[in-house]
């Protein structure tokens, strides 16, 4: 990482880690308790959470209700400037997961077909519950909207996201 004199809130590791924690806490299980999130899917959800405009167009393409976006996310400079983060930055995700794991917030299960599936420890749930104000409140709203995506296959989801991102 190149040290810059500018502070970019959006790239802060803590913020992004908290975001991943929140995602896993809200969306790791189906209504029946089956684990959903592997690396790929988690990265997809992460991308959607950071790009609400892409989130909405993805939801719409699956026929789901879009989320209510803040004025911040609709009418800003960022909304008209494309987010250039590559969709497949697994390295970044790995760092985040390591952090979370080191704090004993993460659990995993291995499934043969899908790889490692993630969930949270009790401690993890507790910490996640504390993330509820300001920015996190907004993100929770997005999670609600994303819950409908549980029925979509991961590969379909990723393909659609890629399409809607560009």
């Amino acid at each position: 990482m190149i040290a810059t004199p500018y502070f970019i809130p959006d790239s802060d590791i803590n913020l992004n880690s908290a975001l991943v924690l929140l995602i896993i806490s809200q969306l790791s299980k189906t209504s029946k308790g089956r684990l959903l999130l592997n690396n790929e899917r988690l990265l997809g959800y992460y991308h959607l959470a950071k790009n609400p405009v892409v989130l909405n167009s993805t939801l719409i393409s699956f026929g789901l209700q879009p989320a209510l976006l803040d004025e911040y996310d609709l009418f800003s400079v960022s909304s008209i400037a494309k987010n250039l983060d590559p969709l497949y930055d697994y390295g970044k995700l790995r760092k985040i997961l390591l952090r979370l794991a080191s704090l004993e917030l993460l659990t995993t299960q291995y499934r043969k077909a899908d790889g490692f599936m993630y969930g949270l420890t009790e401690k993890g749930d507790l910490f996640a519950a504390a993330l509820c104000e300001g920015y996190f409140a907004t993100v929770r709203r997005y999670m609600n909207a994303m819950s409908g995506l549980s029925g979509v296959t991961t590969s379909n989801l990723m393909a659609t996201i890629q399409r809607e991102s560009y």
Partner: protein
Amino acid sequence: MPAQKPSLLIEKLVLVGRRKNYTIPFRSGLNIVYGDSATGKSSILECINYLLGSSKFVYDREIESAILYLMMQVTLNGNIYTIKRDLFDAGADVEVFPASLDAIQEIFPQKYSPSFEKEGQDGYYSDFLLSVLNMPNLKMRQAPTKDESPLVRLSFRDVFQFCYLRQDDVGAKNLLGDGGYRAVKNRETFKYLFNLLDTTIADLQTEISVASANQNQLQATYKAVSDFLRTVELKTEFDLDEAIRDVDERRKIANSEMQRINTSLVANNESYVTLKEMLTKISARLVENEADQTETDHAIERFVRLKNDYKSDIAKLKSIRVSQQLIGSPQLMFSCPLCESAVKLDELQHDHQVVSDDKMTQEINSLTRRTKELDALIDRERSRRSVLLDESKALLSDRDDARRMLDEEMGQAVTPYLAERDSWSYELAKLAEERKNIERNIKIRNQQKQIFKDLGDAIEKINSLNEKLAEARNNAPSADEVLADLSNTLFKFLSYVQISDLRDVRVDSKTLLPVLRDRDYRDTTSGGLRTILSIGHFLTIAHIATLRQTNFPGLLMIDTVGKYLGKTSEKYSDTDIREDSKESVADPKKYLNIFRAMLSLGESKLEPSIQIIAVDNDIPPGFAASHPTTIAAHFDSEGADGARRGLIDDAYLY
């Protein structure tokens, strides 16, 4: 007073063309047309011949493509006529206007048929020419020695044989006919020229009675026409002229009134101009206002977007604080959630980006401050925008007012002018119509005048015929006298031209052709000598015509004076070259003296004067400089020294 001798003077030949007209002017006396071959010199003589009634005109391609019809202004026994003839239809009537070229619009023409095959609207062209030139219109015996021979008319064309020495005929052995019918006719015509025809007196009597009948006819016509015009109350010439003057005056007035209205229409509208200016200004300000509004809108959008970004950043920063507190310090060593084995996080050390709380707060404050500044900017732009909007409303309403006022102003100001202008327009149209009618009536009056003049001419003609009759009775010339005169004159001519060995020069009483050294013209082997003899013969006839009472029209046309005189090309080869050189026909002095002889014949002081038109490829050196007025036309196919390139002088352009 002796009867008026025939006098024919060509004044101007005009070939009316598609692109332009081609004109050759002529004068009395000698006229020379010289220049390169194929420039149209012979065509000029052919045009004159055609306009004097020849049966056809052989035209070259240049004339065929460039010319529509021919016209010629002539003076016949002191009266001016313009003759017009269609180039391509030789059977159509020849039109004769009793006026000069520039006045033919004011008069109706007479139409005569050039051939005896059908009669033209006003008769035969030959009869007209003979009549107006005061020449007897006779019939002669076809076989002159037989009393009971049928009679044929002697036409103007027969006489014209002695006026036109064609290029092929100069120095030709068969000059004036080859012994056949033509030669017989020519001999009879020759006698007619010198009043030697036996039938003269009887014919004159016939002619007098015809002329009297004609005069009576004209008298009746004139009376009928005059009565008719009086009945329909056609105004007199004087009144018509005055009427035209009056119409022209009124037209002038109408035109100047129209002018006045048009200028007033434009000038008298100060308030219109002011309003128009105002309207333009308002429109310009509206455009500016629109541009400003767009600018403000863009600014507002930019600022609001930026503000939202700041707000978003502020929220995120606050969340980072929370996150840091919660998960900001990861353990460097922990056990893997899956397999419980130890995990070491050396790499995380490098990643550790702890932002101090102070820094965070600083950042949040700075962003908050900037957000407030943006709010101020946004407010400022918003109020500016509302000002612009108000201004726009006001301008739009002003513009509508201005437009409305402009229309009202226009309507009020223009309408009365338009009405007045319409009435003057109508007046002008009426006046134009009136003028046309008056012009037509003037033409009719002119026609009546012409009839009256014809009547006068007819009476005069009868008088001169009576005088001729008296003279014929008194001094019927003898053939021998005439031949003696002709022979003497021919001798003088030949010695002037410096022909050597001038023995036995005469005009033979049987052939009526020249004889030199007891050798008939036709037996002369030297072509050059024949040329000189033939030209001399024609010149002699013309000369005697100025002295005696004859029926010669006073016009002589000679095509190619220098034939066989060492000047023409191989085209003419019917000559004995040795004889030619024995006679030294190529001597330039001889050539010069021929021209001098023509000149003096043309300048003879006796009345009427003779007109000679001579055509050649060349002229004696210095002649053009010493006698410039005799040059009617000089053609140079290259156009050197600004000379005309030919008769159709713009043919080289197409």
